[in-house]
Symmetry: none
DNA sequence: TATATACATGCAAAAACACGCATTTTTTAG
DNA sequence: CTAAAAAATGCGTGTTTTTGCATGTATATA
């Protein structure tokens, strides 16, 4: 059986049964569990399913999915946010895209902080409702519910009207060679453009995302000005220090 | 059963029943209490529920004063929403602006309803996250936090690109002679434009808003196609029936 | 205070997993 | 059509995750 054909079948089964179990699939499709695991990993990178221990789940519904996207717990996110906070300069223009980690950062911003924030993420705009001195601009566009962000052509074109001092990029996957990547091409395009119009780029990354690659490439590591991490193994730390990115 | 699947089930149960008890869950989900406890701990770390002795409680959405701006109680809003719902046609393009009453309506829409919804209200977009058959477009613009809507020139200009079958207008003030009005001129301009590009206009109004006027006029009563009300005094009812608006 | 219940911790077994490597299959180039 | 290259697959090995249980501790309720 062809690889692609098999993966289609997996998706079909998943669509019907809401979940799949690796061991079961290896029997039903007459291949080894390793092959199934490899398939599931690829499909997960393409955002077509959600890989979990022993199998995979159908993607969505969006709200739960949005909450569950990262396996990282609130503690890690808060730690990252705390380290990133000093890089937000008062009275600057900050571009923020959607991710639960970015949301955690936004929630840490002092209530009297002065800045202009541009975002394509409605949850992030709403989280800033109580900050009197932050003016918020929503980019708008086609609302992509799974990530709770606006994407598409109109979002892209709106970006042409802006310049930002700092872009806080939400990271799905990061790899030393491949750079940063995301499951959908629309998201990748938006992130590329956001990078282009910003002087500096900051990203917060939890350890488990290192060395993972997804379907659509956003850009090389060099695009990042600051890379905020916690508990990074020394070998990875060394490797990234070669690149011209400020590792925090 | 897959771990994540189980955790999703716990959240679903919690969402329905407001609280869960560890011992109960271990029976309902066929796992040991230890496993349930571990699940609850993880979910608590992710901030998805609040762990308490013997079980867990539902964690409400973060409260903003936006939720309580209007004096009208949730009951009235739900009653209005129920009356308005039949006017939403499947497969139509619906323009919705921000208001707590409109939000209540959106929340009543069946999960499988098919439509295109355009809005300048992030909360409304987010409320539609679970409706698979509704495509949502965010207008974007300057985020006006007090009303949680996007306003300003860019919002206005984005509206030039759209046509809608129905515009659901949030009402601040309504008066027989003065028509509908809002506190800020920006909101008025947006509402005017939304009216222009829509075939029909629907508004839900609670009794206390009748006979009130605000700073910026949106338009005459005749602009409204449908006016949804409850418990309207007969004298007001009669007066409005003179105008060519369908009073419900 | 007494007693049952809930809890944290450590441990062990089973299952699932990642990784390297050899083998097979498919694709590409000549 | 054939040979080389690339990709996909399966297997062995060691590691990680998940789960349930046993033990001792903490907490609630009468």
């Amino acid at each position: 059986m062809l690889k692609l054909e098999r993966q289609q079948k997996i998706l079909a089964i998943l669509n019907k049964e809401q979940k799949v179990i690796a061991r079961e699939l290896s029997i039903r499709l007459n291949v080894s569990e390793d092959t199934i695991r490899r398939d599931l990993k690829e499909l997960d990178n393409q955002g077509l399913l959600r890989r979990v221990h022993s199998g995979a789940l159908k993607v969505g519904p969006p709200v739960t999915d949005f909450n569950y996207r990262t396996t990282v717990d609130q503690m890690t996110k808060k730690a990252l946010a705390k380290k990133a906070l000093p890089f937000l300069k008062e009275d600057s223009v900050i571009l923020v895209d959607g991710s639960t980690t970015n949301l955690a950062l936004i929630e840490q911003i002092p209530l009297d902080f002065r800045a202009t924030i541009i975002t394509n993420s409605p949850p992030i705009a709403m989280a800033l409702a109580n900050h009197k001195n932050i003016s918020v601009t929503n980019l708008g566009g086609d609302f992509y519910k799974r990530s709770m962000i606006d994407i598409g052509i109109t979002t892209y074109r709106r970006l042409l009207d802006f310049r930002a001092d700092l872009y806080i990029m939400g990271i799905y996957n990061i790899d030393l060679e491949a750079g940063t990547s995301v499951p959908t091409i629309q998201e990748a395009e938006i992130k590329k453009q956001m990078t282009r119009i910003s002087t500096e780029v900051l990203s917060m990354v939890s350890t488990d995302k290192f060395g993972t690659v997804s379907h659509s490439i956003v850009g090389p590591i060099e695009d990042l000005t600051y890379l905020i991490t916690t508990d990074l193994p020394t070998d990875i730390h060394k490797a990234y220090n070669q690149k011209k990115v400020l590792l925090i």
